[in-house]
């Protein structure tokens, strides 16, 4: 019981682009690379599909960290989607930081379909970072907490 109380398991939402990062996650799986089960992957057609509201909504519903994974800039399946996503997310993260919300809780990583190892390493690192930060207190919705 005590152990259960003290070990904090973060909830991580990962928005993964269908063409690169989602396949990268598959590759990590087939290569038997381990990454924490705390990462919940949501497949999106492109990193550009991620509306800033999705990220806030994830935090509202209890996520402790949100990571967006897309194709490397220049490799977008839709040619330019991730360039737009890059600008949007930069501004959004900067705004979250401006409001005093821990900037380490959000991240963007470019992971290609061939980078299973990078996917696993990224997720391990991100989960470790968020675990260290602890529970998301600054952008939580108490009504959604059990």
């Amino acid at each position: 019981m005590q152990n259960e109380m003290t070990t904090f398991k973060p909830k991580i939402v990962a928005f993964c682009c269908n063409w690169c990062s989602y396949a990268g996650a598959d590759l990590a799986g087939t290569n038997r690379l381990t990454y924490p089960a705390d990462v919940k992957i949501i497949r999106v057609p492109c990193s550009c599909r991620v509306n800033p509201m999705f990220i806030l909504r994830a935090f509202q519903r209890g996520a402790d960290g949100v990571i967006i994974c897309g194709c490397h800039p220049g490799d977008c399946h839709y040619t330019t989607g991730n360039y737009y996503a890059r600008r949007r997310m930069t501004l959004l993260f900067s705004m979250l930081d401006f409001l005093g919300i821990e900037k380490e809780r959000t991240r963007v990583e470019w992971v290609s379909a061939a980078e299973g190892a990078k996917f696993a390493a990224t997720m391990n690192d991100f989960v470790a970072t968020v675990t260290k930060l602890g529970e998301n207190k600054r952008l939580e919705d108490l009504r959604c907490k059990k």
């Binding site: 360039y83 930069t90 409001l99």
Partner: protein, 324 residues
Amino acid sequence: MQEMMIAKARELLKSGAVQRVLGWKAGEFAYDVEPAVFESAQELEKSFVYNDFCGSNLSKYLIAQSRKEGKTLVFLKPCDTYSFSQLLAEHRIVRENVYAIGIPCQGKTDGETLKGKGFTGILSAQCEGDTFTVHTLYGDKTAARADVLPERCLNCKSKKHMIYDELLGEDGEVLDSHRFDMVEKLEKMTPDERFAFWRGELSRCIRCNACRNVCPACTCEKCVFDNDASGIAQKAAADSFEENMFHIIRAFHVAGRCTDCGECSRVCPQNIPLHLLNRKFIKDINELYGAYQAGEDPDAKSPLTDYTMNDAEPGIVYHRGGNQ
């Protein structure tokens, strides 16, 4: 100035060049000036005013007025012309139906600010250079201009009209303002201090949506905040999350299109400095993607609908500015 404007409006109405006039109307008290549409010389004579309380930005009303038959005459202060120009670039206003007259502005105060400074029984107010004279029931009182102007006017970005058909008075210059000073001050705080600052401000929000309704960049006919299923349609204080989310999304939706007119802060009944959120986006855009001011150049591409191959990575946020 007011007489010149009424004379001009009467002349244009009489000649049939315009069908209606969009201006400001006197209210019950001197500081209760509100936007209004005038359709006859009598109405103009009766209640048209232009004074130091005419802070409201008329450009947003043109969206509806310019869709009516006939031309609308509108009076625009320099900062209103930025919004007008931006709305034209977004094809929200029918340009042919608008006759825009640029008018000078020396900064606008409002009743709340004056009352906050201890003025009561206000009859009228006048600005001459750096002195602000307030005529009250208890005699004339003066104050320094800097004391009675809101932050947006003290740090005015431009006295130059971006777009107009005709100009009354002199055109000014784009000013070298200190409008990002407050944002910089906040950036220099620690995240804990910033969080405490914004909690203190945003927790006062009563979700009246005035900031959204007045914003000349918020012109969607269907708004996400009106959608009950959006998860943030609740009223005030349902949860602190909603205040954060509402204000982040509101500012984000106008990022790259905000002309920094400061109307959001002016109308806020809780005096939340909302324009600081918009300015943060403007400052970030200027620093990361090159100087850009919405409304300045109608042909320029908005930074959020544009990109370059070598844009900064989102990770830059971890390294730049502010305390850790």
